[in-house]
């Protein structure tokens, strides 16, 4: 297996910059997920690692070897495409063995490697079929099998689950995680689906507008987002944001005044922002409690309730909030009637503060 090291990687099409300087280290055997909104450059970066796009500037090292100018087939990588890209005129066996045939691997070894990969993916019974005779899930397995037979140093996945239905996506996520454990290979996985990112990635890299916003473990990113973008991108429903003013920031407890006049305390180091500065308060839906109008805290009006079975989402109109404030509740008991005045509260340690530039104030 191999490590991947990116230094100052840039990509531009004419005068249009797409990747604006990426530095990243991916360790041997790590499962890293590139996540971000459409057009953020994550797939372009993956294609640059694969060798399908030229690198405008910077250095790409695969296994310690500078690989900017190395042909894709010699980089020790295998890629699973969003469309699977199975050759329609070849059988599953031929699809999986094509790379080995080109590399002039003996037929007996091709057979051995293809059948081994097919056994791992439980697709032995499909080897004689053409891609058109396969379901979406089966095609996806064949595409992964085609990657496995090459024994690559690095697996690259470009949104491989996006063409599957929700149930199959969940099942395939589990299988990909198992595959990573079994193969121990370095894997880079691109998705815009934060659930895939959180469940699959040992490490997540959040991209926005051609730059890395933050890289870290899923829990690090979820619990300690570096900025407003990451805080808002990870989590469903996303983190609630309320405009506020910093009142004081001493003793590890920053006190902020919300647009509605309420003051709340957040366990953040307010010394990093001046008193009176505009800040943004962030609270995740699962950390908010909903109470009657006399409960103190943030006042609002209950606007909408969604019952999802295991949880209930209550949406509250709050002055100064960026959209409606979502509250995740367990069960529907205790929720007031729609249109009622309510108050929202949270533990000081569950709140986040972001300065005027969107950067998170460090936790106390």
């Amino acid at each position: 297996m191999a490590s991947v090291r990116l230094r100052g990687i840039r990509k531009h099409y004419g005068d249009n910059p797409v990747i604006k300087g990426v530095d990243l280290d991916i360790e041997d055997g790590q499962f890293v997920v590139f996540v971000g909104p459409s057009g953020c450059g994550k797939s372009t970066l993956l294609r640059m690692i694969a060798g399908l796009e030229d690198i405008s500037a910077g250095t790409l090292e695969l296994g310690g070897v500078v690989s900017n100018a190395v042909a894709p087939s010699r980089r020790g990588i295998a890629m699973v495409f969003q469309s699977y890209a199975l050759y329609p005129h070849m059988s599953v066996y031929e699809n999986m063995g094509f790379a080995l045939k080109l590399a002039k691997v003996p037929k007996a070894e091709i057979r051995e490697r293809v059948t081994h990969a097919a056994a791992i993916l439980q697709i032995e019974h499909l080897l004689d079929r053409k891609p058109k005779a396969l379901s979406g899930g089966q095609r996806q397995r064949v595409a992964i099998g085609r990657a496995i037979v090459r024994k690559p140093e690095v697996f690259l996945f470009d949104e491989p689950l996006s063409n599957l239905d929700a149930a199959l996506r969940a099942q395939t996520r589990v299988e990909l995680a198992r595959l990573h454990r079994e193969l121990g290979a370095t894997m880079i996985y691109v998705t815009h689906d934060q659930v895939e990112a959180m469940t699959l990635g040992q490490r997540i890299v959040v991209f926005n507008a051609g730059r890395i916003e933050q890289a870290g473990t899923p829990l690090e990113l979820y619990q300690r987002p570096a900025n407003l973008f990451v805080a808002g991108f990870l989590g469903s429903p996303r983190m609630n944001f309320l405009k506020a003013t910093l009142v004081s920031g001493e003793g590890g407890l920053a006190v902020v005044r919300l647009a509605g006049g309420a003051t709340v305390g957040v366990a953040a180091n307010g010394a990093h922002a001046r008193t009176g500065a505009g800040v943004t308060l962030g609270v995740r839906p699962e950390h908010l409690r909903i109470a009657g109008p006399d409960g103190g805290g943030i006042a609002g009006r209950l606007a909408l309730v969604e019952y999802l079975g295991d949880v209930t989402l209550a949406y509250v109109q709050v002055e100064g909030a960026d959209g409606m404030v979502a509250v995740k509740c367990h069960g529907k008991a205790g929720l007031p009637a729609l249109g009622s005045r309510v108050s929202l509260g949270f533990e000081a340690g569950a709140g986040y503060l972001f300065d005027e530039d969107g950067a998170a104030l460090p936790a106390a």
Binding site: A50, G51, L52, A78, M79, Y87, F98, A99
Partner: protein, 277 residues
């Protein structure tokens, strides 16, 4: 529309189709009928749809006299050569224009497409001079080479390749395939029907080409069948039965090729037009 009106329209359509088919088939059937008569009967004052005395004399004389077998072989070699080379050149050019990124690609494609604007007749003199300088007069190469660049075929293939998802090429590149291998192992099989369609059309056009062989060939032994037919006329005088026999013998291989590959040609044109076959 009532059932009765529907039947009436169907019947009218069938009658129209039969009439049109008869109109198309009439010259061919008349040629066949003429070729199966004695020469004397072909110039008779009395009109008969069918021969009064059936005979294959015209065919035996045509094959025995003149150089028809040789001309048929020449036509086959030339048509096959033109077809194979045209397909090879057009596929590679179209793949390059469609899938490869290189400086001047658009300009080169534009220049290639300018061939649309130049009638072949305008190129006769420079092509003849070039072939003459290369010493290729009265040779297969001299007949074949000027016919192997076809902007139309390049354009059709490029349009078809443009519609093939780039993921196939990229997957093949990662698998270790170079451009020629990608073309041969991925794009060509995926484009099978349109390649067959273009190959048949090219083969027929090359087989029937009269003008260029007429310019470049002076030797009777190097003539193709359309050119040879004029010699038959000269050699035999106005011998309609033999002339028709020679014409039918010349057309037979092409018709056979078309019938054999008709399904592929139809599917190819449907694929090229974007309709489902």
């Amino acid at each position: 529309m009532s059932a009765r009106t529907g039947i009436a329209w169907s019947a009218a359509g069938a009658v129209a189709a039969i009439l049109l088919a008869a109109l198309w088939a009439f010259p061919l059937l008349w040629a066949l009928s003429t070729s199966l008569r004695p020469e004397l009967e072909t110039v008779s004052n009395q009109f008969h749809w069918l021969p009064r005395h059936w005979t294959v004399d015209a065919y035996t004389r045509t094959l025995g006299a003149g150089n028809v077998v040789r001309w048929l072989v020449n036509s086959f070699v030339v048509a096959l050569g033109v077809t194979v080379l045209t397909m090879a050149i057009s596929l590679m050019a179209a793949y390059a224009f469609s899938q490869l990124r290189f400086r001047g690609r658009g300009l080169l494609f534009g220049v290639a497409m300018l061939g649309f604007l130049l009638p072949f007749e305008a190129l006769l003199v420079p092509l003849f001079r070039t072939m003459n300088q290369l010493g290729l007069i009265n040779s297969y190469a001299g007949i074949i080479l000027p016919q192997v660049v076809s902007p139309v075929v390049i354009y059709v293939f490029k349009q078809f390749f443009d519609a093939i998802p780039a993921d196939f090429r990229e997957a093949a590149v990662i698998d270790g395939a170079g451009p020629l291998r990608v073309l041969w192992s991925v794009y060509l099989p995926v484009s099978g029907n349109i390649v067959w369609a273009m190959a048949i059309v090219t083969f027929i056009a090359a087989w029937n080409n009269f003008l260029w062989p007429f310019i470049i060939v002076t030797s009777n032994d190097m003539m193709t069948i359309p050119l040879g037919l004029t010699q038959t006329y000269d050699a035999f005088g106005v011998r309609y039965a033999q002339l028709m026999a020679a014409a039918l013998l010349g057309a037979f291989p092409v018709a056979l090729a078309y019938v054999a590959f008709q399904r592929r040609v139809t599917q190819g044109f449907l694929a090229a037009s974007g309709l489902k076959g």
